[in-house]
Amino acid sequence: MELRDYLRILRRNWVIILVITLAGVAGGATYSLLQTPQYEATTKVFVSTSSADSVSDLNAGNSFTQQIVRSYAQVVTTGLVLDPVISELGLDRTTRELADQVSAEVTLNTVIVDITVTDADPVLAANIANSIAKNLIEAVPELTPANADGVAPVKVTVTQSAQVPDEPVSPRVPLNIALGALVGLAFGIGIAVLRSVLDQRIRGQRDVELVTDRPIIGAIAYDPKAKDRPLIVHADPLSPRAESFRSLRTNLQFVDMGSDRRSFVVTSSIESEGKSTTTANLAIALRDSGLNICVIEGDLRRPKLVDYLGLEGAVGLTDVLIGRVQLSDALQRWGRNNLFVLPAGQIPPNPSELLGSAAMAKLLRDLESEFHIVLVDAPPLLPVTDGAILSKQTSGAIVVAAAGRTQRNQLEAALKSLESVDAKVHGIVLTMMPTKGPDAYGYGAYGYGYGYTQETSSKS
């Protein structure tokens, strides 16, 4: 994976990432709302030891004091100090519970102890803090008894008594929300990357290149209205989609140079990848360039081509193969120029046998000599063998792969099935290519843009 790929993943999944990030924010906010606000009150006490005379004493005194201070800080959270506090304030909690609410910290290199009490009740927090300071002072003689001179070696003074806090210290709403957002963002990106790694669907040129070294000879723009107007080349010749069929037409002329067999099978890995639509539009595009074209409906199981072309498909290929109908009678002209269509005809019980028969081979030879290009619309390769059989009968296959639909392993398996019968694969045609977004297909990448697209885009 390159940086480019990661950027594409982020662009592709930005919605998911955004949603999960927002969920994190919402989580942080909810957490904050559910928390009981906690208040902190702090009292500062100053711990001093009796003064010394000499510098060395002073130094010793200093380090002694520091140790004493740290020890006193520890004493704060013990029963010695807290038990009297509990009884004094009539608190309904154990020493341990109270100790959890109290923290005593020595500010570095000073002799000041900060005693901080956290409680849901601000007044109580201040009272406890002050009570602790008071009781700490009272505990001093017990801990460090006065020496012979009656001078107490350690003295604790309250330098700042605790005030009732106005604002709660927790929950910290901005912090929680920021944390939630961060966690959500990380989670979202993780999911996006995982999805892309696990997602086997072909989305563009790069994915095809991972599967096969066969060239991509066309990329057909996705058209949400394709169902309503499958014959885009005719209906809207200036549309980007029609332009992509013309690019495919151009590329097809380069394919299979030097062979006198000008018949191609259009097939795909699975169903509904746009075979019939591609076949019909490619045929019309080829016809528009002045060639004589014949299209054969080779899908004898679920013929769709004649419906797209608006023809009657009751009689066709199968009737010709069994010799019941003359080829010239079964061929139907489409439109005003030289595009002829041979429908599937009666649906036979044994399509694969018929398609692999010698009669089929002869029919194809006859049609190749009659027409410039013969296109055969075939069933998908994975469910049935018809497509592979037909590819063997013709000069080779054009394999259609629908972006965002076909899985990489499906395309791989489909190409393998062609390989296993020694059929040639002329190239891959990507259909349903997004025209916007991270995988958008740039015009001119697979052919020649004639500027139609710029015109239409500048208009919009």
Binding site: L231, L309, A314, V325, D329, A330, Q332, R333, G335, R336
Partner: protein
Amino acid sequence: MCTGNICRSPQAERLLIAEFERRGLSGAVEVSSAGVAALVGEPMTEQAAAQTIGYGGNPSGHVARRLADPMVEQADLVLTMERTHRADVVRLVPRASRYAFTLPEFARLAVDLRDSGEAEEPDPAADADRLRALVPQVAAGRGLSLPGAAEHDEVEDPYRQSDEVYARSAAQVATAVSTIVTVLAELSRPSARG
């Protein structure tokens, strides 16, 4: 043609005859009807006959007959009520795929041809030849426009249904018939165009 040749197809036949007559083309056209599973010898059903009169056709004297190859072979244009009928016709005579349409389909395509402005100027031949020459031109428009939904290209079967269905079916037939005759008359006689 239709299934039984006692409702839809005789209606269409009689209405076509009436419409062509109104346009003075009755001499150029011969209209007949048949059914793939005809109730041979039967007259039109009462409701169908009533609907025919309502739309200005004459239902009397019709006798149902079964569709046969020669009828299709000799026809210049075969109009069916459903797509399955069209398939039946083409199975009988494969070449008929060039001139067999469902009735609403032909009406739709005829209008397309007129609107496209691509109809060829008719040769100064007889009306019949001019009309005949229009069929392949209409056929060339197949697939260029879609019916929207497949059933738009079909006429509902009213046989043994309520009067309401009969009325709906007859309206479909009458609309298609008048469209077809209007357009064909216009295109075959450009001089007569308003």
